[in-house]
């Protein structure tokens, strides 16, 4: 036993406990490993539709979602790249695999793609593709908290691109006027598909938009999970205390194409290299071990646990069937409960 090992680890920031630090690591690693499994399945053409990575953004998803209090019934609405946020709120790898492989057992029974699914009990409301819409919708969720006097908080993610939509503007403005318990996470990952931020907005930082709505603004290094957690947690506490909306900008970078098919012809190698050096998981791994908050063995054990978990999940989901054709007619409305089968399908020959 070396002498300096005796030195006590520094105090843990942001009022977190050692197990919580490990949990944060677990969710970040789980996010990345799950996506890596999906890439393999995608290459084997077992994924239906596109695959959207959050490589390099795991910290902003996990750190921000972790600031919510599931026991209090907080609810978030993610973007396509917030797989980590979904996992923190209790979505399972099995559900995500089923969604991507369009299984009958998937949360949407094969009706919707990737992480477009929800469970209000566990605290996540899936997005639709039309960017911006989830901001007013989550404002409505937060309004219900306020009307009922519940100490619950809503959180919604928007990208540098989605903030250009009218829906974002209308939603955040109404939430600001109503002083709703809503935290808006502005994920600045540099690009909207191929479009760099300077072609999306004339501001240098997304947090500058807060002033125009009379809401609080905050910013954190989105590749630092603890900083992300701390800043977001303060916004969540403000919301719960009835102090209204906060716009939290998280600075990060999209290290894969918009979707797997996109080779990112529009980014330079230097830019990419600079951000690879800031990988949020490597950084956190170093921080944990250097501070003595976790040992290499503990973290390796978590990695191993995740590998086992995912092996089992993939093995379970792969053979599962896709939905029955006829199920497509169910549940468009409460009444009638079933859409009619078209006449031409009832013909013979």
């Amino acid at each position: 036993m070396s002498p300096d090992a005796a030195a006590p680890p520094p105090p843990i920031p942001a009022g977190l406990t050692r197990p919580q630090l490990h949990e944060l690591y677990y969710y970040m690693r789980l996010t990345r490993s799950l996506e890596e499994r999906l890439v393999n399945l995608y290459r084997q053409t077992k994924v239906i539709g596109g695959l959207f990575r959050s490589l390099g953004q795991e910290a902003d998803s996990v750190g921000s979602a972790y600031a919510l209090d599931r026991s209090k019934g907080d609810i978030l609405s993610p973007l396509i790249r917030n797989l980590g946020s979904m996992l923190v709120q209790g979505a399972t790898p099995i559900e995500v695999l089923r969604q991507y492989m369009a299984k009958a057992t998937s949360p949407t029974r094969g009706r919707e793609l990737n992480i477009h699914f929800n469970d209000l009990e566990r605290g996540f409301l899936g997005q639709i593709s039309h960017l911006g819409d989830m901001v007013p919708v989550m404002a409505g969720v937060a309004l219900s908290f306020k009307m009922r006097g519940e100490p619950r908080v809503g959180m919604v993610y928007v990208g540098d691109g989605a903030m250009s939509t009218g829906a974002f503007h209308e939603g955040i403005n109404l939430a600001a006027v109503q002083k709703l318990p809503l935290v808006i996470i502005a994920e600045n990952n540099g690009y909207a598909y191929s479009t760099p931020m300077h072609k999306q907005t004339a501001v240098k930082q997304l947090v500058e938009k807060a002033a125009g709505y009379g809401v609080a603004g905050a910013q954190a290094d989105g590749n630092d999970v603890l900083a992300t957690y701390e800043v977001t947690r303060a916004a969540v506490d403000r919301a719960r205390a009835g102090e209204g909306v906060t716009l939290v900008e998280l600075l990060t970078y999209r290290r894969r194409g918009h979707a797997e098919h996109d080779n990112q012809s529009y980014v330079t190698q230097d830019e990419m290299a600079a951000w690879e050096a800031k990988d949020p998981i490597d950084r956190y791994h170093r921080r944990l071990t250097e501070a003595g908050w976790a040992s290499e063995d503990e973290l390796a054990a978590i990695d191993a646990r995740i590998a086992v978990e995912l092996d089992a999940a993939v093995d379970q989901v792969e053979p599962e069937p896709m939905p029955e054709a006829l199920s497509a007619l169910d549940g468009v409305m409460d009444t009638p409960a079933r859409a009619p089968m078209e006449w031409y399908r009832r013909l013979h020959g």
Partner: protein, 326 residues
């Protein structure tokens, strides 16, 4: 019994549902202390408090989105569009988010979007619209268009209780022009999806809804007086889901049918109705099913222009005569 206007009937319906169910709340522009541009929500804020009657910014997408989010959480929002022409600003979130919520994600979204529709009021192209056709091809939505004070009340109450999102299009021309004795004791509920035979007849069926029900009835009287024709007037009341059995029943009885609506002809709801009739009643038709609908132009403002573009009672009379003589 008390004489109630169409406008008052909508007001009563919302008020009764708010009193009955605390989950019901109203949001929209100027709906609070001011009571709304047409005073439909007058007095509701004073009675139920500000949290349940919310003045919003000018943001139809936000109004609908907020209503949807609140509805997911078990509340029952009634969103007002100051004029229904502005529902177009919420077209995307209504057709993509709200209408699909149950199907794609098992999300309950019990909400009502209502507002003043329709012309004949010199409102010009942006205060006279009838938006039903824009939403007819959207599975997941219900569309109701009351013609009478009784149905105005019965349909708003049923819409608020319905577990599906309902578009409630009220006609501003009828607001103060029609009155009806409504019982104060009994609860008035009009079942969504059920048409109403507004007038029995055997020679020709006129299918219509909202304000044009009244012009159709006027025409029917005139045709009976002047031609001895017996015209059946079917008030659809609900456009989605449509009461096809009622349509088929009437057409198989009269064998001649005219669809009358206020929106422009091309791409209007009439096309769908005639296609259904053609599919279900082909053998029963003694004459082509025809339409009387607005001319294919944006609705102009000047009285001579508006009166020319929109269907009038005389148009229905001439069209029915043509069908009867076919």
């Amino acid at each position: 019994m008390a004489e109630v206007t169409y406008l008052e009937a909508i007001h009563q319906g919302i008020l009764e549902e708010m009193a009955r169910d605390e989950r019901v709340f109203v949001l929209g522009q100027d709906v609070g202390a001011f009571g709304g541009a047409f005073k439909v929500t007058q007095g509701l804020q004073a009675r139920f408090g500000e949290p349940r009657v919310i003045d919003t910014p000018i943001a139809e997408t936000a109004i609908v989105g907020v209503a949807a989010g609140a509805a997911h959480m078990g509340l029952r929002p009634v969103a007002e569009m100051q004029f229904i022409d502005f529902i177009s600003c919420a077209y995307s979130i209504l057709t993509n988010y709200v209408a699909t919520a149950r199907y794609r994600a098992d999300l309950l979204t019990p909400m009502v979007v209502r507002g003043p529709s329709g012309g004949y009021v010199r409102g010009g192209p942006f205060h006279s619209q009838n938006p039903e056709a824009a939403f007819l091809h959207t599975p997941g939505l219900k569309i109701v268009c009351p013609a009478t004070a009784r149905d105005a009340k019965g349909l708003i109450k049923s819409a608020i209780r319905d577990d599906d999102p309902v578009l409630y299009f009220e006609h501003k021309y009828l607001y103060r022009r029609i009155k009806e004795d409504l019982p104060e004791d009994e609860e008035i509920l009009t079942q969504i999806g059920q048409a109403r035979v507004a007038r029995e007849g055997k020679d020709v069926t006129v299918i219509t809804w909202s304000a044009l029900v009244w012009k159709a009835l006027e025409a029917a009287d005139q045709l009976e007086r002047e031609d001895g024709l017996s015209v059946e007037v079917l008030d659809l009341r609900t456009l989605l889901p449509m009461d096809l059995p009622a349509i088929v029943r009437s057409v198989k009885k009269t064998n001649r049918v005219l669809v009358v609506h206020e929106d422009t002809a091309t791409g209007g709801v009439g096309g769908e109705i005639i296609a259904r009739i053609n599919e279900e009643c082909f053998e029963w038709l003694d004459a082509p099913a025809r339409r009387v609908a607005a001319h294919d132009v944006p609705l102009p403002f000047a009285p001579p222009l508006e009166d020319f573009v929109l269907p009038q009672t005389g148009d229905i009379v001439r069209a029915v005569r043509w069908l009867a003589a076919y």
